[in-house]
Amino acid sequence: MVTAEVDLKEMDKIIKDVKAKILRLVEISKGMQCVDRNCDRILASLKMLELNISDVVEFLD
């Protein structure tokens, strides 16, 4: 069984940073579908990272 030192707070920070970047991309696309629809997919995947990592960070030591 593999054990490793994992920095979940840093992961959470990166997830937030990436989300902010993608939202900014949508903001400046002015409705370009090729940007908005792909960003929508990225945001859905980011949500899964939030569910897996960000949601639990506050409960960890």
Partner: protein, 445 residues
């Protein structure tokens, strides 16, 4: 922090989270979805307002039991309104819905299930927990022997396989023989199917193609869904022996999601408690059941669905908590998987009766084939149970001996007597997806 089992678990943090922290996470997520449902769905707002409940009433974990439960009929009534076809149950603008699925409609009008792309990612995420726990890896070639159609299960399995990194072969359109030959040709390593179809494919292999599925094919693991068979020890044993493969159970539902899975320890079904709140309640009183070994009904909340949330949904599935699993997960185990449905557990001749008990008996007798049919009817004022079975082609015992042994086992396991009918092998109905082996013909059932 030190994280153990990075290779063993899909999410080693959530799956091994100490119980008190898991409960704190659950409460945070529960409050979030209740607020979401109340603010965005007329269905939940009406349900809660009529019950005098408000999301702000949720102060502690114990307050969860104050939240009204949702019945399938509530979805149906809400969906009769605009916007078509989801009506008052929809929580997002219709334009955000990208996926349509529906329930099978076995208990009435199907429930329509809208999902956004985020919901769809969530479906495959939940299924990834299942697949990883059962050993599916990027070295697997997974064969799915169904046309997926409007039903969600194998779509979700397919997308989750992709997420986990498996190669997926969609085996719709083909007939059973063609599917078996395709699996053989491609050297598929894994398979997803209902227990009924897993056994039926093995029968086709042996009797029509003259192949031994355990030797001539390369299937190493089978994920079952749709029926409780993979948690019925005798049925699981039949499938594992026929295919020379590990067989794993999983339970999910269109309205809920893929909420539970058997891990490689095969000791029961883990509830995915990071994504779902799984409550076991007394069938009659609705009181929570926390202790292992006591039968109850499952009420479920999916924490993270946005288009059509599922909050304290009365699944009508019956199970019981088990002891902690040796796999290291802190997600609780449901012992023996799903034991049946509230609407199938019925009184026959005054005795509480579950059809799953009959499956266990029939499948534990090697003299019998895989198929059977069970009918409850009324003769005058008396309930009557008829069990139709087939003798296996390999059986060398006399029918009279098999009859005596079967009657004895049934009496022992269910406390009931049966009219047992032997039918020629291959004459009882065969099913591809969910079997309908239990029929209650009494009025009002």
């Amino acid at each position: 922090m030190q994280v153990k089992g990075i290779d063993r678990y899909w999410n080693p943090v959530l799956e091994t989270l100490p119980r008190e922290k898991l409960q704190a996470l659950q409460f945070k997520k529960f409050k979030r979805v209740v607020e979401w449902g109340y603010q965005n769905s007329k269905l939940y707002r009406r349900l809660y307002d009529e019950a005098g409940f408000h999301p702000q009433d949720l102060k502690t974990f114990k307050d969860i039991s104050k939240v009204p439960t949702l019945q399938k009929e509530d979805y149906r009534l809400a969906q009769a309104k605009e916007p078509y076809p989801y009506g008052d149950s929809l929580c997002v603008p219709l334009q955000r819905v990208t996926e349509y699925h529906q329930t099978s409609g076995t208990t009435g009008q199907p429930v329509y299930q809208p999902d956004t792309w985020q919901d769809w990612e969530w479906w495959s995420e939940c299924w990834s927990y299942i697949l990883w726990a059962q050993g599916f890896r990027n070295t697997d070639r997974v064969f799915i022997p169904f046309g997926y159609n409007v039903f969600v299960a194998y779509w979700a399995g397919h997308y989750a396989c992709e997420k986990v990194g498996c190669e997926v072969v969609p085996g719709g359109i083909l007939n059973t023989e063609e599917r078996v030959l395709k699996m053989k040709e491609l050297r598929a390593t894994a398979l997803m199917a209902t227990p009924t179809y897993v056994l039926s494919m093995a029968e086709t292999c042996r009797n029509k193609l003259k192949l031994d599925p355990g030797k001539d094919l390369n299937i190493q693991r089978i994920l079952c869904a749709g029926e409780p068979g993979a948690s019925v020890p005798a049925t699981k044993k039949r499938m594992e022996e026929a295919w020379n493969a590990k067989v794993f159970d999983h339970v999910g539902a269109t309205e809920i999601g893929g909420w539970s899975f058997e891990c490689s320890a095969q000791k029961g079904l883990h509830a995915n408690e990071a994504f779902f709140l799984v409550e076991l309640v007394d069938i009659d009183t609705g009181e929570p059941i926390e202790e292992p070994g006591k039968i109850g009904k499952i009420v479920i909340t999916a924490f993270d669905r946005e288009a059509q949330p599922c909050i304290r949904f009365d699944s009508k599935d019956v199970s019981m908590w088990g002891e902690p699993c040796e796999c290291g997960r802190t997600f609780r185990l449901l012992s023996g998987g799903i034991h049946g449905r509230v609407d199938h557990i019925t009184k026959v001749k005054g005795v509480l009766f579950s059809p799953v008990a009959v499956e266990e008996v029939v499948r534990s007798m090697p003299q019998l084939g895989d198929e059977y049919e069970l009918i409850v009817s009324k003769k005058g004022d008396t309930d009557s149970l008829t069990l139709k079975v087939e003798l296996s082609p390999d059986n060398r015992d006399t029918q009279e001996n098999v009859l005596q042994e079967l009657s004895r086992q049934l009496r022992l396991k269910t406390n009931l007597a049966y009219n047992i009918e032997f039918h020629p092998f291959g004459s009882l109905p065969r099913y591809e997806i969910k079997a309908k082996r239990f029929k209650d013909l009494r009025q009002g059932h």
